[in-house]
Symmetry: C2
Subunit: 620 residues, 2 copies
């Protein structure tokens, strides 16, 4: 325990910014085939090395003529020219336009020698070996002169140009096969930590394993910023392996990012490699999240050690690294997208570090946009998913008042508050309704949390059960009943609640859940029947509380519990027996001042279409 | 000539829209590895099939305890617990926390059996076989309960969700290896036309060959809309080959686009294949550009025949096809990006079709945004490149007045008027200055066009030469001299202007160019010396006019001319001999009311840095 590190002298966020900016990532020019150039950024100027078109070109179907031969021609007095031949697009002319002659041409054909104009076919009549021309043309008319589209020597595109379909068209016209572009900086991603398992591999919960979140998420962030991510094999906490991977990544990439374990032994290796092969420029930053960030050079290659927690790693990446990566990739920074919002609740914060606070947004009924802090705790992976952006609080701000206006830095310029925000109980029927509501956000935090969120003016909609208190204000717009009971594993014989007393390992739900409340109510009734105290019966059941609708059933399925509280549908889904104990009613409740929101109306329509709508009635 | 087709009954643009919308492109679900899922769109709902974390997890470095053992503990009266062992992240606990004991844990470790809280290390002191705890903790403190981040059974993502780095993180946390996404619609691109050559191949100008622009540009447009382009080999106008390629593409793709030749023979094949294997739904649309658009089904597969001209093909693609492709790919339509602008010049249009008019934008000095039509003529490839968006004019609008406000549909939400708009003479020195001015647009239309554009209130900056009239209003902010003369090929002996008279094929520049004017002035002086008329001397020289700075020299280099007018630097660039004839002055002139524009100031700074700036002086 001696080697726990503290950060006595934290760098300021501004120092972190300038150290990363000075790393000087990537550089140079690479040449890619035109077919792969779309979306890339030009490294050099492009000049036309040929005229486009390369010849005087007929711009219409018609007849190539000498303009002087059509002087005075009109509908009543056509010029009659003898027909000397024809030239089609892609043909070399084998005929000359002598005075008083014409040559048939199709659009795109080379203007034959002698001609200086084209008469469009609609103003002519072809006769045997001759053509009547019923209009006068001027020299150059209906002809695109050589080089008129792009002339040789023209500087057509400058360095820094992002190649869109229009630029691809121009480069095609110039015959450019190989395009000089800014290379995508290669970014090595090294994930450390004995507990991390690549997604898709089996997970041993009891050995404390979790899936590696940072590698994939940071790789996607790198790609979004114009870099080319390279994920290195996870190295656990094996010091020799970690050192080898770090050195390989430094050799092969323009930037190395590590994330994951910030354990003392991991840090020892990183410190040693930094000191032996490069330099440590900064360690520890006065920002939350992100305090343990390290910056340096590994064998000459820029290196950033990201914090291990996903929210911290992604926030530091997005705020401090992505901008430099975009610069290195020649990408312009995305349009700054911010929105003003009012804090739905007060927020206290006294750690004295600049804070990058994730917030969710919701449109209130009166047109205001409301922000609420999203914090699922250290190590949570879903925090950023439930957020729309970041409020950047300076270190000296210790309190944000309810109703205070804050500026939210949106995760993308396309971000906007969800069409409808629901909070409450998880339920399979609800999930089906939500699938038809693109743009809806639903936070499955349980019925109790849903009722609370509605009261606090955050949620538009709460989904509650009749086993918990109904929200004091709101309109029930729909609902349904669901059968609940016990999901029973093979190892025990359980036919009802009474059989739980004793040696049976029971998994139930925590106190946020309506389903958990139904279970506790049933247990209380059992106590009354037996004339015992509720506490006595509860204490006689060996129960653990879990956090979600299927968590108890999953524990039964994987043998960690004998019996779980759950729905009939869940028991079927996990292939376990089911003992019904009752039904509970699920209610969809809309905040009184949000009934007119478009997203809420669409939800009500969707409920009605499924036959789940309720006659509108307002609670007292 | 008998088979030229006319469109007597043009469909309305609204009909084109609804026919394309009804084509029902693509569909279904594909599964991609998580590492390839970034940027894709979920086809199905994702539910958590496990708790995250899967175990009660220490959220801090410290000691796992029974909270009740710390009741009343504080700085002055610590609880002393005996140390029973340690659990690190990724380890299976081999120890239990009995009453009055503690177990060392690191962040992320499994909470050992018996414990219900963690005391952070900072509030403890380790002694031999014991630990002093200087704070009381409550049950659950510094512990992330199993499923607290994501609980099994939670609906975490809905269909239609675009997968950003945050979603990749969540899917990683859930261990999802294979992600159900909306398949990118495959779009077959068939390019026809005997005259088309793939970029990179040699081009025979005299046989009327041009590079294939549409295939690459449309492919890039398809990719930008979320489709997967497949370019088929160019098939020329060979009927059998074209039929085979069209049928192959229909079999292999979700949508087939052809573009290129709209020659009668090509159309015959397309008509026949459409009629034999599918149906023709629409041919001919009342929109400019885009009249010859065809829509149908080829062997059951949606098909659109795009017009052959690049501007037409890309405009029809962007306006009518890209939205359906985005829908098929599950992509949301990009935020509508429009800007109000004033027409810099009047524009008349009387063809009675809806017109999609490309316009360029420029910020006037007074904050107004000014739009000017960009039209380089039928078949030009650079028109869209010089434009920022489209003004959509209904069929009954025949005139847009100078100063009239129009709504410009920008090519992308990031589009904005260039930092500075220059028009005028091409010049190598100028190109170097421009390379340091990202966001500048320069139209190399010649000194005469530059002066005119400045007068009309379009260009911020004109680049002119002293051989043409200086703009009547404007401030000269810089300039330089350049040596010009004759670029001379091997086949002739030319030492000066006098040697051009006779059988020498001379390439010069058209009347927009200052360099062309210098040549004509020199020829006039020669006539004076010889006491002949200018016309007589001019007629005695066999000269063709070309469109750009290097066009004459390139013609000398490829043998199409004996002598070309050009700069010394150009002669060197193309490896030809040079006979100097004089110097001309290039002037950079800023419109009087644009001097304060940021982009103009940066141009002036760049000129100053290169030593090309002029003492500011205003012309009368």
């Amino acid at each position: 325990m001696s080697d726990r590190r503290e950060f006595r002298d934290l760098a300021s966020p501004a120092e972190l910014e300038s150290v990363i900016a000075a790393l000087d990532i990537g550089g140079g020019t690479e040449h890619v085939p035109l077919a792969a150039a779309h979306g890339r950024v030009l490294a050099d100027r492009v000049e036309a090395t040929l005229d486009v078109p390369g010849f005087d070109r007929a711009a219409m179907d018609g007849y190539a003529v000498r303009a002087s031969d059509t002087a005075g021609a009109g509908e009543v007095d056509p010029a009659v020219l003898s027909l000397a031949g024809a030239v089609h697009a892609g043909e070399r002319p084998d005929v000359t336009v002598d005075p008083e002659t014409a040559v048939e041409v199709s659009t795109g054909a080379v203007l034959p020698p002698g001609a200086d104009a084209v008469v469009m076919v609609e103003r002519t009549t072809e006769r045997e070996d001759a053509v009547e021309v019923r209009t006068a043309v001027t020299p150059g008319q209906h002809v695109m002169a050589a080089g008129r589209d792009v002339a040789a020597g023209t500087r057509v595109l400058g360095p820094g140009t992002r190649i869109s379909p229009r630029e691809v068209g121009l480069l095609s016209a110039l015959g450019v096969e190989s395009v000089p572009v800014v290379p995508a900086p290669t970014v090595g991603i090294v994930s450390t930590g004995d507990e991390l398992v690549p997604p898709g591999d089996p997970l041993d919960h009891e050995a404390g394993q979790i899936y590696d979140v940072n590698s994939g998420a940071v790789a996607a962030g790198v790609a979004a910023a114009g870099g080319e991510p390279r994920q290195y094999d996870r190295v656990g906490d094996d010091k020799a392996a970690m050192e080898r991977v770090l050195r390989d990544a430094a050799e092969e990439c323009d930037l190395v990012l590590s994330s994951g374990s910030t354990s003392a032994s991991t840090m020892d290796v990183i410190y040693r490699v930094l000191e032996e092969t490069g330099e440590r420029l900064l360690h520890g930053v006065a920002v939350k999240p992100g305090k343990p960030t390290i910056v340096g050079r590994l064998a000459g290659t820029p290196y950033v050690g990201l914090p291990g927690y996903p929210v911290s790693a992604l926030t530091i990446f997005r705020t401090f690294i992505a901008p430099s990566l975009r610069d290195a990739a020649g990408r312009s920074r995305p349009a700054t997208a911010t929105i003003e919002a009012e804090m739905a609740v007060g927020e206290r914060y006294t750690e004295g570090r600049r804070r990058l606070m994730p917030v969710g947004l919701v449109a209130a009924g009166d047109g205001r946009t409301v922000a609420y802090p999203v914090d699922k705790g250290s190590g949570a992976t879903t925090t950023l998913l439930d957020a729309d952006g970041i409020v950047d609080c300076p270190a000296d701000v210790t309190y944000l008042d309810e109703g205070q206006t804050v500026t939210v830095d949106l995760f993308s310029p396309d971000s906007h508050p969800p069409a409808v925000l629901g909070v409450g109980e998880g339920d399979p029927t609800l999930s089906t309704v939500l699938d038809d509501l693109p743009g809806a956000r639903y936070l499955t935090h349980g019925a109790v949390a849903g009722a609370r969120s509605l009261r606090r003016g955050i949620a538009d909609v709460a989904v509650v059960t009749d086993s918990v208190e109904t929200p004091s204000a709101g309109t029930v717009v729909g609902g349904w009943e669901r059968e609940w009971g016990l999901v029973v594993g093979d190892a025990v014989a359980v036919d009802g609640l009474a059989d739980l007393v004793g040696d049976v390992a029971v998994a139930t739900l925590d106190d946020q859940w309506g389903l958990g409340a139904s279970y506790r109510d049933a247990l209380a009734r059992l106590a009354t029947e037996r004339d015992e105290s509720v506490a006595a019966v509860s204490d006689a059941v060996a129960a653990v509380e879990t956090a979600g609708l299927e968590s108890p059933a999953r524990r039964v399925a994987d043998g960690r519990a004998d019996v779980g509280v759950g729905l009939q549908t869940t028991a079927e889904a996990v292939g376990q027996a089911f003992v019904p104990l009752g039904t509970e009613r699920v209610d969809v409740v809309v905040a009184a001042d949000r009934v007119e929101k478009d997203g809420v109306r669409r939800l009500i329509e969707a409920l009605d279409e499924c036959g789940l709508g309720a006659p509108t009635e307002t609670d007292p």
